[in-house]
C-alpha cells in the first residue's frame, strides 16, 4: 500500500508540475519542469524496502528553447497531463481495491 501511496504522491506532483508548465507556456525564459519518482520507487520495490512517500525530484528540461528562452511544448505537456491523469486514476482504483479487501476481511472476522 505504501508503494501505491508513493505512486499517487509522485503522480500528483507531476500533475502540479505540468500545470506549472502550462501556466508558463508564454513566459519568457521559462524552462519546463520534469518530475521523476519512478526510478526511486522502482529501486525501493526491487530491494524490498519501504518506498519513501515523496513527490520525487523536479528537474528543468534541457530541450532547445524558442526565441524567448521558453521550452514548454504545449502538445507534449497535454500528453503528459492526460497520461498522468489516467495513471492517477489507475493507482486510485488499485488502492480502492486494497481497501475493499481489508473491509471484507474485517467483516468476516
Amino acid at each position: 500500500m505504501t508503494a501505491l501511496h508513493s505512486a499517487l504522491t509522485g503522480l500528483a506532483e507531476r500533475q502540479r508540475v505540468t500545470a506549472d508548465n502550462i501556466a508558463n507556456v508564454n513566459t519568457p525564459g521559462f524552462l519546463a519542469g520534469r518530475t521523476n519518482f519512478e526510478n526511486a520507487l522502482k529501486s525501493a520495490v526491487g530491494n524490498g524496502a519501504t518506498p519513501a512517500v515523496s513527490g520525487g525530484t523536479v528537474s528543468r528540461s534541457l530541450e532547445p528553447t524558442n526565441t524567448n528562452g521558453n521550452n514548454v511544448n504545449l502538445d507534449s505537456e497535454t500528453v503528459i497531463a492526460t497520461e498522468t491523469g489516467l495513471r492517477y486514476q489507475l493507482a486510485l482504483n488499485a488502492l480502492d481495491g486494497k481497501y475493499s479487501l481489508l473491509r471484507s476481511a474485517l467483516r468476516t472476522s
Binding site: 500545470a19 506549472d20 502550462i22 508558463n24 508564454n26 497535454t78 497531463a81
Partner: protein
C-alpha cells in the same frame, strides 16, 4: 503545498493570459486614436509576466507589471481633424494590427490550455475524493 494546487497553478495561468487579452484588446481598440502632434500618441500596452518558482514558491505565473511602447507614433496629414496642428497634422499610434492579432491568438490559446488543465485536475481530485467509499 496547499490543497488542490494544480488548480490554483492553472488559475494563475488563466489570469496572466486574461490580462494579456485585456492589454491586446486595449491596443486594438485604440489603434485609430488620434492625438495632437504636441502630445504622445497612444502607447501600446505590453504585459510583463514572470514565473513563480515551483518548489520554493507556489508555482504558476504572475503578472509582474505593464510596459508601455513608444508614444512617438506616426504623423498623418488630416487638416479636417479637430486635433490637427497648424500644418494640418495629427499623430496616430504606431501599433501593428498583425502583431496584435497574433498576440490575441497566443493569449487565447494559452487561456484555453490552462482551462483544460483545471478540468483534468478536477477529474483527478474528484476520483481521489471517492477513495474508500465503495
Amino acid at each position: 503545498m496547499a490543497l488542490f494546487d494544480a488548480m490554483s497553478i492553472a488559475g494563475s495561468g488563466m489570469m496572466a493570459h486574461r490580462k494579456w487579452l485585456d492589454a491586446v484588446s486595449d491596443n486594438i481598440s485604440n489603434i485609430n486614436t488620434a492625438s495632437r502632434t504636441s502630445d504622445d500618441a497612444f502607447k501600446e500596452r505590453m504585459v510583463d509576466v514572470q514565473a513563480v518558482d515551483y518548489g520554493s514558491g507556489d508555482g504558476g505565473v504572475r503578472v509582474a507589471g505593464v510596459q508601455f511602447g513608444s508614444g512617438e507614433g506616426r504623423i498623418v496629414n488630416e487638416p479636417d481633424n479637430p486635433l490637427a496642428d497648424a500644418d494640418g497634422n495629427v499623430k496616430y499610434p504606431d501599433i501593428d494590427l498583425g502583431d496584435q492579432m497574433a498576440e490575441l491568438m497566443m493569449a487565447q490559446r494559452g487561456y484555453q490550455a490552462n482551462a483544460a488543465v483545471i478540468d483534468r485536475a478536477k477529474d483527478a481530485y474528484q476520483a481521489a475524493l471517492q477513495l474508500g467509499k465503495g
